[in-house]
Amino acid sequence: MRSIRRSLLGYLLVLIALALGAVGVLVDRFANAAVRTREASEEDRIEQAFKARHAEAKAKFDADLMAEAKALATEVQYKTAVLLGQNEPMRRLTPIEQVVAQVGGILLGHTPERRPGGPGGFGGFGGPGWPGRGAEPQPPLKASTEEARLFRLRSAMLEFVPGPSLLAALAPVAAVEPNLRGNDPRRHHPYPNWVEFDGPRVVARVQESLRASLVDDDHARPYQFQLTLVATYPNRAGRNVATLGARVVEDALLVAPEFLEPAPDVEPKFDDVNISDLGSCRRVVSGTTPGGRPIGFFLPLPAPPAPAVIAQYKNYPPFRGADMMLRVIVHTARPYSELDSRLVADQKERDNQLARVRAETREELVNLRARLVVIGAGTFAALVLGGWFFVARGLAPLRLLSDAVSLVSEKDFRLPVVPTELGHELAPIHARITQTLTLLQRAFAREKQAVADISHELRTPIASLLATIDVALRKPRTPEQYRGTLEECRLISKQLGQLVERIMTLASLDAGNDHTHVARIDAGELASGCAAVIRPLAAANNVTVSIHAEEEVILNTDPGKLREVLMNLLHNAVEYNDPNGTIELAVRRAGETAVFEVRDTGIGMTPEVRDRIFERFYRADSSRHATGVHAGLGLAIVKEYVARLNGTLAVESEPGVGTTFRVTLPALTIVSTLVPADRAKPGRAVPAAS
């Protein structure tokens, strides 16, 4: 059997489990989102930091590149100045380098003091009249001692490099600078007139260019040329590209202020280039300031001091003589792989951080879920216990009712519980049980009464029988006396039998074992038969019986039961009639029904009595015992029979006036007398006479 408590608890727990699940999923989702957001912001922060570091590294990379470009530019300028004889290159060389340079120079047929010789046009310039003008170039700031030394060496070497016998001159230099050896001067030709910085023809080319521009007679416009020099540092991958450009301004020409403006294309400018064997590279293009190093080839006079403000160039006094503005533009490029190698550590750290953040997030989520599960399980367990208890509490009224019902017994039919204790839901059940118990109690009492009545009714005849026999046996009797006793006994037994028969009839009706045998009868005939039977008894009581059956009424019913009904009613009518009273038995049709009326002029009944006459063993007058055969069962049987015949039973009575019993039977097949053919049908018409 299912337990309500368990069912309720089960439903409750399913509900709670669903709710907990939903809440858990929602909490998990929100927490997940929050944690993910935090993770994203953390990653973003790390990414930003990395980008900042990256930018910083790139800026530094660019700054280094720039510094290198500037150093290179300075170097080239210096070299150029040296080439043009404006310097005292040997002064700051180490003794060994000086020796090497001198040896090289000797081999090449030059002396340090002499300018690299070319066609005589240049012989006159570059005298000691330019003190300090060609200061020794500073090596790049971050250059190591070795690099600085090499830088200086190369600067010095450039001074000594003549044109045709360059290879011989380089032989000692190569011992110091391995990278210079074997370089193919024509290796790089980005443009037709570009020359490699470290190529053997650089100097010659510069001189040639200068000479060409200066020798030209037409000084109406500034002369200019451009050379590309490629420098290679020994310990560094990549290539530095410098462009050497010079402008020669005619002496008579005024230097227009706009000309002195810095050229936009030589301002430090960074861009990315792709160099065939280095891949993607970062390049900077930088130039020396145009006004910074004017080179005067022929002018012995020092240039007037440059104005501090550009606007004042308008008032600048006209510059006489040829004035060559030599400008150095340096392209320096370095492959990005260098920057990338610097960023590898950063990248690794960033990846580590990201991995850590992700691991933390994952761990946090796992913890959160574990906590959710623990909380959910704990809540569920608590609810199981609490639910068990509270459901039991909630069901307490049910137990109360159950206990109360179990206390009901055949001795006490009261339900010992107050409906207010049970609550609204059980109140109807309580009411229903109470109602049923009341009915049961009444039925029980009735049944008890019936049993008592039956036993009482049976005991009296039995007592008579016993007493009669006892008396007869007390002493010897004559045969006549015995006969008399036996007749007495037979009479009593017959009454007893009738009584038992009636009780059995009722019991059989109660048990539903009764069968109705329907036949077609003539109601008037049957009524006449009954009246004939009752007449002797009526006559004995001084009562007259009359019958009224004007019309013929044929109906289908159980004649035995109908006769029993009428006989019982007539018996009562006789028994409860006054002397000299009358009894009328009427049979008539009323619409589709057949009506039997038994009217007497007897003592009548009060309404209270009338309500009870159909109860078994009830006697309106307990004294009326004389006939003995009814024992208060007659009307009960009448009622049951009429019900079996699907009829209705009505009583009208007035005390002192008389009583009318009216039996109305349904007219399923009332046959009018106008259809005699119907009656003539064989086997259907049954004589009603008893």
Binding site: S455, R459, S464, L465, L466, A467, V471, R474, L491, H625
Partner: protein, 231 residues
Amino acid sequence: MRVLLVEDHQPLVKALRQGLEEEGFAVDVATDGDEADVKCRSTSYDVVVLDVMLPKVDGLTLLKRWRSSGVNTHVLMLTARTTTNDKVTGLDAGADDYLPKPFEMDELFARIRALVRRGHQQKDPVLRCYDLEIDTAARTVRRAGQAVHLTPREYALLEFLAYHRGKVVTRSMIWEHLYDEYDENTSNVVDVYIRYLRNKVDKGFEPALILTRWGEGYMLRGDDDPPLAAK
């Protein structure tokens, strides 16, 4: 002893009447409550055998009515109702005894006899007077150890005298208790039966136990009465 039988079931009335009469009781019959009421009030019965279910007035109501109006006759309730409750109700209504139907005749007779004895404050079923012994249970009489054979009516007369031993009983008292309503009251019938009784009980024995009080009636010799000289 005179008994009023109140019962409405004719066969039972018939049997009981015959049985009681054969036991020597004078039996009056009433078949409904009203008749019983009238008879009980007009005659002094020794015992009333009263059925509960009666026409007109039922037995319990009748009994209560009697008791409240001072009728102290012994009543034996005879009823088909057998539950304890019914018995209690009957006894509490004033009945002296209660006998449920169906019953044995012997038991009924015994109970009636017991009620008669109780009415005379007599516990011993054997009544004694000098050397006369009357066994009321066996209905036998012995005088000086010799059995005396009496007719039922003689026995009833002797028993009546014995119950009133030492006291004078008038002829009308004897009549009232020994004869029923249908017996014809002839003036000397009591005297005749007294003579019969003397012949059987006193003749040949000393002292004479049945005494005559002229002008009053008869009595059975009590212990206080001096033994008379032999007649």
